[in-house]
């Protein structure tokens, strides 16, 4: 048990150091200079530009030699201070991330988890019933292979523009102020539904296809046949098949949650939803080193944590891993 865990922890630590280093290097290898890009939007009197540049460079410590910047960067990871954003000067990066990530979580966690649950159920149904299979599989294949941009665009066009049922942009209406009242909550949900539903649909197909194939595989495996010959009820066999089939799906789910922010870029771009995904895109475009680093770090930590969690969960739900501790394989 300890050996299994300590091995994992060492691997995770190495991964973390590498990821953090790459995270530091990549933005600085991008062509151009963030301060210059920021300045290029302003037209100020002659000489004014140089003054601003100088001050910003000092404020962001971009004039430090790279090794010093790198050390400061590590320091910031442990102190939770990621400096200030260039694009949204002088807002601290942590404040930006903590505001934006809430939108991501409210939008994506339900979409991922619900599509996983529903997808698994439907997939399992497909796996055992020929008729359901014939109807549902084409739909699943269609959903999982259609490009998200296109599907979301179609949804937005029909539900938003043609029928005018739902708004196509933002997290709440233009004349709304966030508050705990029904009109705001309803407005929020109306804005939330389309991004949520499009993410839900796109992911549903993948989960269902995976589950269906697992169920078919489990149904034809030896233990199923053995149970059948013992006269066990169909339902019991199915439930065993489901429990075994769901294992890889759990891995998939954890990885999906780890990629939460990456997956958010497309949906938030299409529906102009103010979460981290969109923030990440604009921080790349604006060469906002500090914000980009902060977001990447959040992504890395999430990915590592999710993987670690899977490892732990596997110890409980996968007998093969569990038994390997006590040496009885």
């Amino acid at each position: 048990m300890g050996k299994y865990l300590s091995k994992k922890i060492i691997i995770y630590l190495i991964t973390f150091v590498l990821a953090v280093t790459i995270n530091f290097v990549i933005p600085r290898m991008m062509p151009g200079d963030p301060i210059q890009s920021l300045m290029s939007r302003f037209s100020v009197m002659e000489g004014g530009r140089e003054i601003i540049e100088e001050q910003l460079t000092l404020l962001f410590n971009l004039d430090d030699p790279l090794p010093v910047q790198y050390l400061n960067y590590w320091k910031s990871i442990f102190t939770g201070d990621f400096g200030i954003s260039i694009m949204q000067f002088p807002k601290p990066v942590t404040a930006i991330i903590s505001t934006a990530i809430i939108y991501d979580l409210i939008l994506l966690i339900p979409a991922i988890i619900l599509s996983w649950i529903v997808g698994n159920r439907l997939g399992a149904l497909s796996g055992v019933s020929k008729r359901a299979d014939n109807i549902m599989m084409p739909v699943f294949y269609f959903l999982s292979s259609s490009p998200y941009f296109w599907l979301a665009g179609v949804l937005a066009f029909f539900l938003g523009v043609q029928l005018g049922w739902l708004p196509i942009s933002g997290a709440y209406g233009v004349s709304m102020n966030p508050g705990l009242n029904w009109s705001f909550i309803l407005d929020y949900i109306r804005h939330w539904f389309m991004p949520f539903f499009s993410m839900f649909l796109v992911q549903l197909g993948g989960w269902a296809i995976g589950m269906r194939n697992m169920i078919i595989y489990e149904r034809s495996s030896n233990y199923s046949r053995y149970m059948e010959s013992l006269g066990a009820s169909d339902r019991l066999i199915r439930s065993y098949g489901f429990r075994n089939g769901v294992l890889p799906q759990v891995t998939g789910l954890a990885l999906r949650i780890a990629q939460l922010i990456g997956g958010a870029i497309t949906v938030e771009t299409v529906f102009n939803y103010p979460g981290l995904g969109r923030m990440m895109l604009s921080s790349v475009v604006n060469q906002d080193y500090f914000l980009l680093q902060g977001i990447f770090l959040a992504v890395v930590i999430m990915a590592l944590a999710a993987n670690f969690l899977v490892d732990i969960i596997y110890m409980f739900i996968d007998p093969r891993v569990r038994l390997s501790f006590s040496g009885e394989v």
Binding site: P31, Q88, A171, N177, S239
Partner: protein, 568 residues
């Protein structure tokens, strides 16, 4: 639910419920006040802000749009349609001698915290820039002293009066309250967020969100009696999103005014119920000049004969009609536009030296200058036989410019000059521009509408080209000290006849030398709807200018806010 719900299923359901409840708690822990703005009193605009509101600090250029103009005000406002200055915080101002300018301030103006506005605030605004480094500090390179003679009179004494620049200073410098900013330590001047700024203007900070800034009308504004009361109780300024979303929101009446460039708006404005400044072409007022810059530190762009020949090869009308659908104007050969600049246009010079689309003339000029195809590959070569293989760059993703630059490339090919279009990332484009690392490029920096053509000339031809980096225009590093001296002389001359003479000389030099080729004038993009507000200004009713970009509210946007009528 065909499966027997085993324990794990129950656990899963419970888990989901916990997650959902948790998320709602999170959601409502971040929400604060609870008011819905009355849409009939709210003006929704977009097109100015590129990122979430983050600072209202008037001392840095990337402050939230509207901070300057809605909260802080200037001594004068400038009307680009009539080329007139209107006293704003000032009651009057005049040159009392060659190097002294006296401002008389209005009385009875109050800062939004109740303190009186007076001469000390104006003096402080300038002295702050003298004692600290802020973006308008360079004014002290030619300003000598600023003194309050009494509570409402301020005398500016200049070491070297820059008349043209001073005119601009009068309507672009936002005056800040001494009683607040004098308490800010020097090292906090720039990083200060200054949320809830205290100004003299018609609007106050109301709230800011991830994707919006909301301003609330200041009912005690001093201008209510002088100019009238702004109609919208709230202004919601949305952060820019993609064109199609903006257009959709305009059509649904969710946005009232958009200052975005929306390609094809001329085709759908009728269907979508959108209004623009002109009913027909060019639909929009002009805002800046897109120039084809040529890097004079490389061959053959160092030869004015080559540059001028290229100018005759350019078909500006293809760009205007095919790329922009008539949304922009073809550039005047001098690059000048707008009342303030055209006041100094010498038509005689344009008639004599101006360029126009004439490929045969371009061919003749190229032949004459020795740019002929010497190796028979179909492309012209340099007089010394070296091939000409050039690239013209515009930022990737600027779709209209990308199309325009293809026109440039085709026009050049038509007269045998090999220029390929390239599309670097915006940051790379900027970097190349700063370091002379390009052959040709299109740029519109430093050519924004102002009150004096000095700004345009100083943008396309100035002497900031001898260092490692070029930061203030003249990207092609065109070097002509006589011309630079002329432009400075224009800046330092107050006599109109003399100014006209200098202007003609500058225009002639630029046309003969062609350091840049003016191609088109980008529009003051503005499309608005009557869904919630009517009486928008237009060609037929030009009482204001619908522009919400930074530094532009005092060019007539305040008048628009006063002139709008709610749809009841």
């Amino acid at each position: 639910m065909f499966l027997k719900s085993n324990k794990r299923g129950v656990l899963m359901k419970g888990f989901c419920r916990v997650v959902l409840v948790f998320m709602f708690i999170v959601l409502f822990s971040v929400v604060s006040l609870a008011v819905e703005l009355d849409r009939s009193e709210t003006l929704v605009i977009t097109g100015a802000a590129w990122g979430p509101p983050s600072t209202w600090n008037i001392l840095i250029p990337n402050r939230q749009m509207g901070t300057g103009g809605l909260v802080y005000e200037t001594l004068f406002s400038y009307n680009p349609l009539t080329n007139e200055y209107r006293p704003w915080l000032a009651e009057s101002g005049e040159w009392v001698s060659d190097n002294e300018y006296v401002v008389n301030l209005r009385r009875g103006i109050k800062w939004t915290d109740g303190e009186a506005f007076d001469a000390d605030d104006l003096v402080f605004t300038y002295e702050l820039a003298r004692d600290n480094a802020v973006y308008y500090s360079p004014v002290w390179n030619w300003l000598g002293s600023v003194e309050a003679e009494d509570n409402y009179t301020v005398r500016f004494t200049f070491d070297e009066p820059h008349y043209a620049e001073w005119d601009k200073e009068l309507y672009q410098r936002y005056i800040i309250p001494e009683h607040i900013w004098s308490k800010v330590p020097a090292d906090k001047l720039i990083p200060r967020t200054n949320a809830n700024p205290v100004g003299t203007g018609p609007y106050l900070y109301y709230t800011a969100g991830q994707d919006r800034m909301v301003w609330e009308r200041n009912d005690n504004w001093w201008g209510n009696e002088v100019f009238g009361t702004p109609k919208p109780k709230y202004i919601v300024d949305l952060v820019n999103v993609s064109n199609n979303i903006t257009l959709g929101m305009l059509m649904k009446g969710e946005i009232d005014l958009s200052n975005n460039f929306i390609p094809g708006v001329e085709k759908i404005k009728g269907v979508a119920g959108l209004k623009t400044w002109y009913e027909k072409e060019p639909y929009m007022l002009s805002w800046n000049t897109a120039n084809l810059y040529m890097n004079t530190t490389r061959k053959p762009m160092d030869d004015s004969a080559f540059r001028r020949a290229l100018a005759f090869a350019m078909n500006k009308h293809t760009i205007v009609d095919k790329v922009y659908g008539g949304l922009v104007k073809a550039a005047n050969p001098t690059g000048l536009f707008g009342q303030g600049w055209l006041a100094y246009l010498d038509q005689g010079v344009v008639d004599e030296y101006g360029f126009y689309f004439d490929p045969s003339k371009a061919v003749a000029l190229l032949d004459k200058a020795g740019y002929v195809d010497s190796d028979g590959d179909g492309w012209r070569d340099q007089p010394n036989g070296e091939p000409i293989e050039l690239e013209v760059m515009v930022p990737s993703g600027w779709t209209d410019w990308m199309e325009a630059v293809k026109v440039v490339s085709n026009n050049a090919a038509a007269v045998g000059v090999n220029i390929q279009a390239v599309f670097p990332d915006t940051s790379l484009y900027d970097n190349n521009r700063f370091t002379r690392n390009f052959d040709l490029m299109i740029g519109n920096q430093q050519t924004t509408l102002t009150s004096t053509p000095f700004d345009y000339w100083n943008g396309v031809a100035n002497d900031g080209i001898y260092g490692e980096r070029i930061a203030n225009g003249n990207w092609g590093a065109y070097d002509n000290p006589e011309l630079f001296a002329l432009i400075d002389e224009f800046n330092m001359t107050n006599d109109e006849t003399e100014k006209m003479k200098i202007a003609a000389e500058i225009e002639k030099t630029l046309l003969v030398e062609m350091p840049t080729i003016p191609l088109w004038h980008n529009g003051l993009w503005a499309q608005y709807t009557n869904a919630n507000w009517t009486n928008w200004p237009s060609e037929d009713n030009p009482y204001g200018v619908p522009v919400t970009w930074d530094n532009a509210y005092q060019l007539g946007m305040i008048d628009v806010l006063i002139g709008l009528e709610p749809v009841k």
